[in-house]
């Protein structure tokens, strides 16, 4: 066994003693997911930002209030995104006639021929996957934020939410909208509707949320809530 002074000392160096890995409340032995280097991390270390010494991967973000922030922002983004679906997203006017289309309308337009697979891709990447991700985060971490015990399946939900991140592409879509408006500028007069700005706010909140997504904290807290 190692004594506690020793743990604190060795923690940020490589993990020297592996006699009781993972079992104690006070410290956890983790392997850097990028390069496999071992570290012993206790609450004190998790409270400050730390990077892997070998590869530079951010191991802890040092955010104690991370859970409430992540859940709150996931909730806000999901709500905004749902609202953005149904309010006017783009406006197109052509010789006195103005047509406004919602995001639902845009996606519903892909219902024939070669547009069908494209429609599924757009629907999935910009709406379904981001929404699913927010709901999974709320489901897995919501009870933890309110100091309740975690729901069954919370761990799988959190793992899927993290894995879905590269596939949620709402921000890429926003750039696509801007480019489409430029391309349309000589065909018709176009303008963005309120839905565009709502979705933009949801994208910004999500980007800010990422700075709170310290995996170490999320998993440690979820683990505690499961016991």
């Amino acid at each position: 066994m190692v004594n506690t002074d020793n743990i604190r000392h060795t923690a940020w160096n490589e993990c020297a003693d592996l006699g009781d890995f993972g079992m104690s409340e006070a410290k956890q032995i983790i392997a850097c997911p990028v390069c496999d280097t071992l570290y012993a991390i206790d609450d004190e270390i998790a409270a400050v930002p730390t990077n892997c010494r070998r590869c530079g991967h951010r191991l802890t973000y040092g955010e104690r209030a991370a859970i409430a922030g992540v859940v709150g922002m996931a909730f806000a983004s999901a709500t905004l995104m749902l609202v953005a679906l149904f309010v006017p997203f783009l406006e197109l006017s052509n010789g006195g006639r103005t047509i406004s289309t919602s995001l639902v309308h845009v996606v519903a337009g892909f219902s024939r021929g070669i547009m069908v697979p494209l429609g599924f891709a757009v629907l999935g990447f910009i709406i379904l996957l981001p929404l699913l991700r927010f709901l999974l985060l709320i489901f897995s971490l919501g009870p933890v934020a309110f100091h309740k015990s975690a729901l069954p399946g919370a761990a799988i939900a959190l793992r899927i939410a993290i894995a879905l991140k590269p596939w949620a592409m709402a921000e890429v879509f926003m750039v696509g909208v801007a480019v489409a408006l430029v391309k349309l500028s000589d065909l018709a007069f176009t303008d963005v509707g309120v839905g565009f700005w709502i979705l933009a706010v949801a994208v910004l909140i999500t980007a800010y949320q990422e700075t709170f997504m310290c995996r170490h904290t999320l998993w440690t807290e979820l683990n505690r809530a499961q016991q």
Binding site: E14, C15, L18, F21, G22, Q28, I29, I30, A31, C32, P33, V34, C35, D36, T37, L38, C55, G56, L59, L90, L92, N94, I99, T101, V106, V107, G109, F110, I114, M115, P117, L118, G119, A121, V122, F125, A155, I156, R159, A163, P166, W167, M169, V172, F173, V175, G176, V177, V179, A180, V182, K183, L184, D186, L187, A188, T190, R215, H216, W219
Partner: protein, 203 residues
């Protein structure tokens, strides 16, 4: 540095928790545990190949079919960029060129370079290899811009009656190519960068 593998342990790539080497699933997050992903490079090359196969028709076939006053104009990715350039929309032309031409080509080259380098012991800077890997992982999704542009144009312009815009076959094959190369990048096991390092520079 002590790695989980050298200590007879296995680290979870999803949550980081360490487990005995023979444990199959992570006790904390339920992810499958594998000390090293032996089939990683095979999967990288498989996704890379289908990605490249999908990228070829994406450049040959039209991305966009514009019908205006009974005349249909077809334009490929590159023709779309040139059109924008002639129109004076230089910034947008550059964005589309980067997203649809430069990034995909650079990604194919970089993934091939990484996969070839990591197949045998190497003496390169691990930090540079890791940076390349990070860039490839981060940037892939931005290639989707043009697919979204085509999608928006084709539904929006249906509503106005002056013209109609339809996506061409290239839109679908380009989207598939982006998805496949994202899967290729995700198939890398980054831990190989250090495993395969020959005793050269210390880090």
């Amino acid at each position: 540095m002590i790695t989980a593998r050298s200590a007879g342990l296995v680290g979870c790539r999803s949550c980081g928790l360490v487990a005995p080497a023979d444990q199959l699933t992570c006790a904390r997050c339920g992810a499958p545990l594998q000390s090293r992903d032996d089939t990683s490079l095979q999967r990288v090359w498989a996704w890379w190949t289908v990605g490249l196969l999908a990228y070829i028709p994406a450049n040959i076939y039209p991305m966009l079919l514009t019908t205006q006053v009974f005349r249909t104009k077809e334009s490929t990715i590159l023709e779309g960029v040139l059109d924008l350039m002639q129109h004076g929309d230089h910034l947008v032309a550059i964005i589309i060129f980067l997203a649809s031409v430069f990034i995909p080509v650079a990604k194919f080259v970089t993934i091939a370079f990484l996969a070839a380098t990591l197949a045998r012991p190497h003496k390169r800077e691990t930090h540079q290899l890791l940076r390349l890997y990070d860039i490839v992982e981060f940037i892939g999704r931005w290639s989707m811009i043009d697919v979204f542009v085509v999608a928006i144009l084709s539904t929006l312009v249906q509503f106005g009656s002056l013209a109609s815009i339809n996506p061409g076959f290239a839109a679908v094959s380009f989207a598939l190519s982006v998805i496949f190369t994202m899967l290729a990048a995700q198939s890398f096991d980054s831990r190989m960068i250090w495993d395969q390092l020959q005793d050269g520079p210390a880090r």
